[in-house]
Subunit: 395 residues, 2 copies
């Protein structure tokens, strides 16, 4: 009997798969399902992308250099320069989405059995990549009641062992929509420097912040060697299907390691690297537009949730997500109910049970995550339907 | 002091990087460098690709499903049906090039410390991916004098231990240009079934065969559970920069594992999945054209090498590579010489020292690999220059 690997077994199947047949069944019955479960926005990719794509005039489509197509990598450098960070091309390598950046960065800093500290709830792909690369994630639980703010320094330091290699932070955060305060960022940097740890900062949602300016850990010049920043064009320019991200660091040993990994897998897609150039060069204008739109949506979702009796949530400060605590023991049951047994005017709504965003077993069962990826009109309707659905479920 | 991981240290830097500054220096001096060192062809991508790309009419660029865009995955299914293999969409998942297929397949069958049998010389990325995923490659050395044919069954079986999970075969082969005989394929299948091993068959060059019909391990229906086939549109359709490959298997446990990994990294690029559809649907015609061209090139390179005194090589049967044994102790010295100290009519040539294609230390030092990725006229000139260069080097 052939077996798959333990690491394959340890990756959990995405909960989305479980609900997909239910969604299809509902749709077959003529029910419209508002999908606010994943971060796949309905916003048009800026026309600049198509303009960038047309810059590609070759009749061959060769491998891009593993270091990135020169103009593309330089566009990232210029993009970072605008936010005050002076990278050289050797400090940044384009990747196949932020996803690949996560895997390569984890593999570059940690060996099998090594530990990385994370804050839960967290973007689920980290769990999968940790399983694939045999790295142990050590979770520190953040509470919705505390606005998902970080605990005291001592609580974090307690988790550090001889095998700890890095702290992962997602800022702005998926799935919580929270952002780190200056004080929290300072603390993370202080801990990393003191305990000789890398900071892997996933800043894919950097510009999508509603009442602050975008920040980056790369601005901590006193911790240059410690900081690794992962980025992506997917969310800030509404084009996740292009699969273009990046990994940046002033740590030259680390970047050499990433380059070696990058050369093994050859290159990120050639055409999209061109498409991304005018996006990166026009980032301030384009990200301002998209953030304005997400702020409107945030308001609708937040207000919509606050109206539902028994629901607890705090106002998201960034990204395109919110977590809400429900007056329900098991959110998965609600999601199933909404898809299989409920509809209002032939419409229903798909949200994500938050359990999968936690590492610690049993947490998040009464929470859901909403991704505000629909236009304001659809979102208003979806929130109304969610309210009716919850009421019905509790009857 | 921060360190990178052991696995990062264990990945060798690509030898291409070492020669790049020398190439740039030569080019600065006005010397044209014929680059026949990597499998990045000069052949135009078929116009069908651009037609496929235009099928994409959306104004958003969302994530593709992890299982692939339906029409794209179905195009793979149709492509395989034409060569006699009846896959269902659940048996195949598109990947980010064959490169990602290699990494995911290795991770799905083996855990850190597990062993995989390979035949050296072999495509170098396997070494890198094995380091990244902490899998031990157990090499069986093939000899140029034996036309790189496989050893007896007993020689292979000898290498199997309790930790052996798979045998990797690249067919047609990069870097040797050899193809497996029916007898060799039968033997590999027999061993795999008997010893409960996966066969990871990298068939990216399937159609590029010069005197036989394309084959695939998927045709062994008696070993359905054992066989994993990696594929790519890069070489057969001359578009490596699109980063579209696939992994296929009738083993449902294995495909479930791959799907879980695929979901963690979300998706392969959306636009190129569309571009690939008409390529896959027109595979017989398009691959016939490209193979005809490579056959002409193969003849030029093979004849060119045979003319050089002291050089030994055998006629490649497929792919776009040839390995040649030189009357020189260290091929790396020759490559440096050609770039730094030699030119003929202001031209020189870049080939790859074959040492890096071996796992066993010390092997391949007197061998080079040539990728016949230039048009016939350029290739003739390059071979003439190589002959003159070798003569000069030996003087």
């Amino acid at each position: 009997m052939l077996h798959v690997s333990h690491r394959a077994n340890s990756v959990l199947a995405s909960p989305i798969r479980k609900f997909l047949p239910m969604v299809l069944d509902a749709e077959k019955k003529g029910i419209h399902v508002y999908k606010i479960n994943v971060g796949d926005p309905d916003i048009f990719v800026p026309k600049e992308f198509w303009r960038g794509l047309k810059m590609y005039k070759e009749k061959t489509i060769g491998y891009a250099p593993s270091t990135g197509i020169r103009e593309h990598t330089e566009a990232w450098v210029k993009y970072y320069k605008r936010i005050g960070i002076k990278l050289e091309p050797k400090n940044i390598i384009p990747t196949v989405g932020c996803a690949e950046a996560i895997l390569l960065a984890m593999m570059a800093v940690a060996d099998p059995g090594d530990e990385v500290i994370v804050f839960e709830p967290m973007y689920t792909s980290y769990k999968g990549f940790a399983s694939m690369s045999n790295i142990t994630l050590v979770p520190i639980t953040l509470k919705i009641e505390n606005n998902f703010s970080l605990p005291d320094e001592s609580e974090i330091v307690k988790k550090i062992t001889k095998r700890t290699k890095a702290i992962i932070v997602i800022n702005p955060n998926n799935p919580t929509g929270s952002i780190l305060s200056k004080k929290e960022m300072d603390m993370i940097v202080r801990i990393a420097v003191k305990h000789n740890l890398y900071i892997i900062a996933d800043e894919a949602y950097r510009e999508i912040v509603f009442s602050q300016k975008p920040t980056t850990f790369l601005s901590y010049i006193n911790a240059k060697e410690n900081i690794i920043v992962l980025d992506s064009i997917s969310k800030k320019f509404s084009c996740p299907g292009t699969r273009i991200g990046s990994v940046a660091s002033f740590n030259e040993d680390f970047m050499r390691a990433i380059l070696k990994f990058a050369m093994v897998r050859l290159s990120a897609p050639t055409l999209e690297q061109y498409g991304a150039i005018p996006l990166l060069l026009n980032a301030p204008r384009l990200t301002k537009e998209v953030t304005k739109e997400y702020k409107k949506r945030r308001d609708i979702v937040y207000k919509g949730l606050k109206k539902i009796p028994g629901v607890f949530c705090t106002e998201p400060k960034g990204a395109l997500y919110i977590i809400a605590k429900l007056p329900i023991a098991n959110a998965e049951g609600l999601v199933e109910f909404l898809l299989k047994k409920f509809s209002y005017k032939n419409k229903t709504v798909l949200v994500t049970p938050a359990e999968d965003f936690y590492i610690t077993k049993g947490l998040g069962r009464n929470e859901i995550r909403i991704a505000y990826v629909l236009n304001t009109k659809a979102l208003k309707d979806a929130m109304d339907i969610l309210q009716r659905g919850i009421r019905n479920f509790l009857m």
